[in-house]
């Protein structure tokens, strides 16, 4: 428990094809274990080719692409506004963020000024979504390593948020709430009181959640010192969001590259400090999310107090047709970290190219190197600690 279970090492030669992997496994007498694509703890259809020697993994190679729906190609076919519902499917656990990133990239191209009230509506929707996404992350992480009880606890709270978001935009999962230039609907009557009421209830639940799970001795023993990622390695592999902050990198897009109305809101950026283990271990990644939920509550309370009446949609031309060759990128702090949309306008009514760089995609890239020397059972904890979502990897 006192020392890290494995030290990170530099990657050695990587084999080129799966056939070669199989050949090598045959040669060395190791076992090949196919974990997935249909496996409850891979968080979607992801396959891991696990080369094991008994219980110890030599390496786990992630094979992704099972959920590839060519969203980037669709963006080139449908119009700028028409792509908005598709962005929900980039990350269906936290669809508001995918909406926001895309909307911000197109607004940057078209020089659209979003009204203040719309920005506040966005922040309220997005922070609610962040809480619900982190609840899933925390709940499923507990379930993946064998604690079933916290999962329904987390999902029960998420239901309240689903109800709130349903009242806001009519959908419970793929919201399609944001529009280029604003939001689709204003806050319904009495929404402020309802969200405040939920926050009063939820802040108490978070304390309970900490008692139930976060500082639970078994949970801590299971996750502390496991799969430590040093800060340089996290940056080199382009880890983002809570995964990056757990390694001690003090960076949050909301604070460091301010967008929307975040400069007007006060919040802290929780970092992994190695409270029970080494900084950057699985428990830190989990705890960063729990702390972020508390900060989201803070942001929500301020946003609800500061929101002023006004327009919720900017004046836009009927057809969006930016000049050919204009391009812009947007970065937002999604629930899964820094999400980047890179949109190139082609002169027509749809984007020439739309590239989505998501947190889950880069997080999957680091699993191969981290898995070397871990136990097979710890792979599940490692995947869960990254909070990867399969559609966001494959798009």
């Amino acid at each position: 428990m006192s020392e890290a279970r494995r030290a990170p090492e530099t990657p050695t030669m990587v084999m080129t094809t799966n056939k070669e992997i199989l050949k090598r496994i045959e040669y060395t007498g190791d076992m090949l274990l196919n974990m997935g694509p249909q496996h409850p703890s891979t968080h979607g259809v992801i396959n891991f080719l696990v080369q094991t020697d008994g219980e110890v993994m030599k390496r786990a190679i992630p094979e992704v692409g099972y959920l590839h729906r060519s969203l980037e190609k669709i963006a080139e076919k449908v119009g700028y506004n028409g792509f908005m519902p598709y962005t929900d499917r980039v990350d269906y656990i936290a669809a508001m963020f995918a909406n926001q990133g895309y909307a911000m990239a197109v607004e940057k191209i078209l020089d659209i000024k979003v009204p203040k009230r719309a920005e506040y509506c966005r922040v309220i929707a997005v922070e609610l979504n962040r809480i619900s996404s982190h609840l899933i992350a925390a709940g499923t992480m507990a379930m993946d390593i064998g604690a079933v009880t916290p999962f329904p606890y987390a999902l029960r709270e998420r239901e309240f948020i689903n109800d709130l978001l349903e009242e806001l935009c009519g959908a419970r999962l793929t919201y399609n709430y944001l529009r280029i230039g604003g939001v689709a609907f204003d806050l319904p009557d009495g929404y402020t009181e309802k969200v405040s009421g939920f926050l009063d209830h939820f802040e108490k639940i978070l304390v309970e959640f900490d008692r139930l799970l976060t500082f639970n001795e078994i949970f801590v023993q299971r996750l502390a010192h496991l799969a430590v990622i040093p800060a340089e390695m996290a940056i080199d592999y382009c880890l983002v969001g809570p995964n990056l902050r757990a390694s001690g990198v003090d960076f949050d897009v909301r604070r460091d590259i301010p967008y929307s109305v975040y400069p007007e809101l006060q919040f802290d950026v929780p970092l992994g400090k190695g409270l029970v283990g080494t900084p950057g271990d699985c428990w830190d990644r989990f705890y960063c999310r729990v702390e972020e939920m508390k900060q989201s509550c803070r942001i929500l309370r301020q946003a609800l107090a500061q929101i002023q009446p006004g327009e919720t949609m900017a004046k836009l031309p009927r057809k969006l047709k930016p000049e050919e060759g204009l391009e812009a990128y947007s970065r937002i702090e999604s629930a899964r970290g820094d999400m980047m949309y890179y949109v190139v306008a082609g002169g027509g009514e749809s984007a020439w190219r739309c590239k989505v760089r998501t947190g889950s995609f880069t997080a999957m890239g680091i699993i191969d190197i981290l898995s070397r020397g871990l136990m097979v059972a710890d792979l599940v904890a490692l995947i869960a600690s990254f909070d990867v979502v399969a559609p966001e990897i494959d798009r």
């Binding site: 692409g65 080199d236 990198v249 204009l326 990128y329």
Partner: protein, 196 residues
Amino acid sequence: MTFEEIHSALAAKLGDRVGPLQAARKDAYCVVRADAIVEACRFLKTDPATAFDCLQNLSAVDGFKAAPMIKVVYHLYSYSKRHTFILKVELDRATPVIDSVESVWKAADWLEREQYDLLGVVFTNHPDLRRIMLPDDWVGHPLLKDYKEPGDYHNISHTRESPLDGFVRMDELKKKIAAEKAAETAASAPKKELLQ
């Protein structure tokens, strides 16, 4: 550092292999010659003034009809200096080949594999260049503008018959029947006259 300062530092190192700073189109970028990309990236990462420790995004864009080339775009970010820069490389559309920057940033591994898969850009010296999203035996690179869908994959069709084919609306059906009846009576009426 501002875009201009970073660009001048890069230009001082690489000379004429770095193009001028293009600032007219929203985000300033500069074009680097393909043979200088690894050198440019390594310089930007290791130089203490620029210190670009993270490759944020790597995307390839199939050129416009007017300019048939594939552009590879590197979005760089520095966590220590908190500044950003964009590099672009223009490649021949028929044979898009470029050196991999995997040796500079590990994040490039998967990002380059994705662009190889979807746009067919070949990254030389990449340790594991194979398809990532699509199956290994897929034909073509879908994000190219002239990509044609192969029609099927292992006899799994990419298209399906529209369930609305042969579907007739009820009110149109009624109209059709009424029209047929009217035509029938119109056709039978003169016969009666003939019989009389």
